[in-house]
């Protein structure tokens, strides 16, 4: 074994160690920074979830935040004084994911025949309908006032109250979601989705029911959105329709487009950029949308495929690490 291999392996270890140290350092940062990181992680989860529909199945969904709302309200209704129901957080996490999936299928059914612009418009309306419905269902949701004083969450006896607690929870969930989606991407299901994106008609000609294929994408993606929403509810301990506007859906879509459609690494980069950007520029808060617009146009002009090249994906990184570790002579 040559010296260079040892050097490269040490380099790899150093990079890994650096990642671990950085992640372990976050809890020691001032609370503001921890909140920003939490926010990044939430958006990573949402964007990776939405990416299943947009990036893999090739269906532009502009109403994704509706599923997030479903999850958040699941927590608000099942862990608060609203109806005096106080279910444990973990139970609601699953209920929220399931409710999201059901909502996803409900949205999926009517829009399955649509593609492109029409699909985008209908999903956009769906997101707005859910928000307006929440806004108007006073008896259930308190309407625009929202529901406050949600239960303090806890998980397996550990309290989930501070941003640091949520940091650990979100980190685990983000890694799980990324890993799960990566696994799906590589499975035959992921291949069928990619084929669907290229030529739906041919896919049907191969004996694949494209309806179920799309519904599955909608359901899984919405389940991730729902789970994210539950955590959001538990974190804020307050929900109101304001949090689930079209702008939020748009932000998640932008994260995907700016990072790199269909690429988990890209989506992570996109989430970091789009969450950090307004924080850095918070003195210009009223120009937030303008800034997004400028960033989007710049990225699209300079790097139409997104910030991260499609080649630099999770699979590429894993392959690199593996070859360096197992058969370094090949690298």
């Amino acid at each position: 074994m040559g010296n260079s291999v040892i050097v490269r392996r040490l380099g790899l270890l150093a990079v890994l160690a650096l990642c671990v140290v950085l992640l372990a350092l976050v809890p020691h940062l001032p609370s503001y920074y921890v909140r920003v990181v939490d926010s990044i992680l939430i958006y990573i989860i949402l964007a990776v979830g939405l990416n299943l529909v947009v990036g893999y199945a090739g269906l532009l969904d502009l109403g994704f935040i509706a599923f997030y709302a479903v999850g958040a309200y699941a927590y608000a209704l099942l862990a608060s004084g609203q109806f005096d129901i106080h279910l444990p957080f973990i139970v609601i996490l699953f209920i929220g994911a399931a409710a999201g999936a059901i909502a996803g299928v409900l949205l999926g059914f009517p829009v399955l025949k649509l593609r492109g612009d029409y699909l985008a418009i209908v999903t956009l309306s769906f997101g707005e309908i859910i928000r307006i419905a929440i806004n108007n269902a006073d008896d259930l949701t308190n309407g625009p006032q929202g529901i406050a004083g949600l239960d303090r969450a806890s998980l397996f006896g550990l309290p989930l109250t501070t941003p640091v607690h949520f940091y650990w929870l979100l980190l685990v969930l983000a890694i799980t979601v990324c890993g799960g989606v990566y696994y799906m991407e590589r499975s035959i299901l992921g291949k069928a989705w990619r084929a669907l994106r290229e030529d739906q008609d041919v896919v049907r000609g191969l004996g694949i029911n494209t309806t179920t294929l799309k519904l599955l994408a909608f359901a899984l993606s919405a389940a991730i959105g729902g789970a994210g929403g539950v955590i959001f509810g538990a974190f804020q301990r307050f929900v109101s329709p304001e949090s689930f506007t079209f702008q939020e859906s748009l932000l998640v879509v932008l994260i995907i487009i700016i990072g790199g459609v269909g690429n988990i690494v890209g989506v992570i980069a996109g989430a970091v950029v789009l969450v950090v950007l307004p924080e850095v520029l918070h003195f210009a808060a009223q120009y937030r949308l303008l800034i997004y617009g400028v960033v989007l146009v710049t990225v699209i002009v300079l790097r139409p495929g997104g910030l991260v090249s499609p080649r630099f994906n999770l699979g590429f990184i894993i392959r690199k690490v593996r070859t360096l570790w197992l058969s370094p002579s090949k690298t």
Binding site: L189, R194, A195, R204, G205, G207, I208
Partner: protein, 274 residues
């Protein structure tokens, strides 16, 4: 298993693309459908595969009526096809283009894994298929990056990888040069099997005459004549209506040539992209 068209007609608005067509195809043979441009050959293929509905009549596979079934059900029953214009998944690798054919066909198999091929089994079948079609060396190349001739072969492989009993080939040699066409003919002839019917739509007469067990001649959506290559070659009605005048014969030749030229351009484009 036999496939039968019974009094099938297809209208596009006022245009009658197929009129009262009855044909039957049994496993174990290669059938060719020929006829001039616009005769309705692709329309027949599209109706069998479920891409087009039939205006009247019935299409049966064994005892099952195919018309009215959704397209993916027809494919699941054992009808696979290629397209007149290449339709590969360009952004996926050659291997993946075959793998995706093995996607579990129902929710039940998908969730329970029953009757479902394992990944290793799937890959083994696909690699064997790639070897059979001389594509092993490009297994990990994106389908869209292959030269045109090999894309045509990959589409052929995709139609055969699942061992469907009914395989519809819509102009597999369109755009191929003379040698490639000969190879393609040999390849298709070699794919003839007892448990498989190959239905071939093709303009290249040499290929059609050399590998078909039966030739069906369509003209303006009607069956002009049907029989062995020798019979069709000497049939008077075919001579008259299709091969009859030298003018028309020239037209067909020109067409075959122009398709070749098109393919040449596309093939070059493929190489440039490579």
């Amino acid at each position: 298993m036999a496939l039968a068209l019974e009094n099938v007609s297809k209208h596009f608005g006022s245009l009658v693309a197929i009129r009262n067509l009855s044909l039957s195809f049994d496993v174990g043979s290669i059938y060719s459908i020929i006829g001039p441009n616009g005769a309705g050959k692709s329309t027949v293929v599209n109706m069998i595969a479920g891409s087009y509905s039939v205006t009247s009549g019935a299409i049966r596979l064994g005892a099952t009526a195919l018309n009215r079934l959704p397209k993916h059900r027809i494919a699941q029953l054992g009808v696979s096809r290629t397209y007149q214009n290449l339709r590969l998944f360009d952004g996926m690798t050659v291997l993946e283009n075959l793998e995706v054919c093995f996607f579990p066909q129902s929710w039940l198999t998908f969730l329970t894994g029953a009757k479902r091929l394992s990944k290793a089994e799937r890959l083994e079948i696909c690699h064997a298929c790639l070897a059979e079609f001389h594509l092993s060396d490009v297994a990990d190349v994106l389908a869209g990056d292959l030269p045109y001739g090999r894309q045509k072969i990959l589409e052929l492989a995709r139609a055969f990888v699942t061992q469907a009993p009914i395989v519809l080939l819509d102009e597999p040699a369109a755009g191929l040069n003379h040698t490639e066409t000969k190879d393609m003919a040999a390849m298709i002839a070699g794919l003839k099997r007892e448990d498989r019917a190959i239905i071939l739509v093709e303009h290249d007469m040499e290929m059609v005459m050399s590998i078909s067990d039966r030739i069906d001649v369509l003209n303006y959506g009607e069956l002009l004549c049907s029989g062995t290559p020798d019979l069709v070659r000497t049939n008077e009605r075919v001579q008259e209506a299709y091969l009859g005048t030298t003018e028309e014969l020239d037209d067909i030749r020109k067409l075959a040539q122009s398709r070749r030229a098109q393919g040449g351009l596309r093939a070059n484009a493929g190489i440039v992209r490579h």
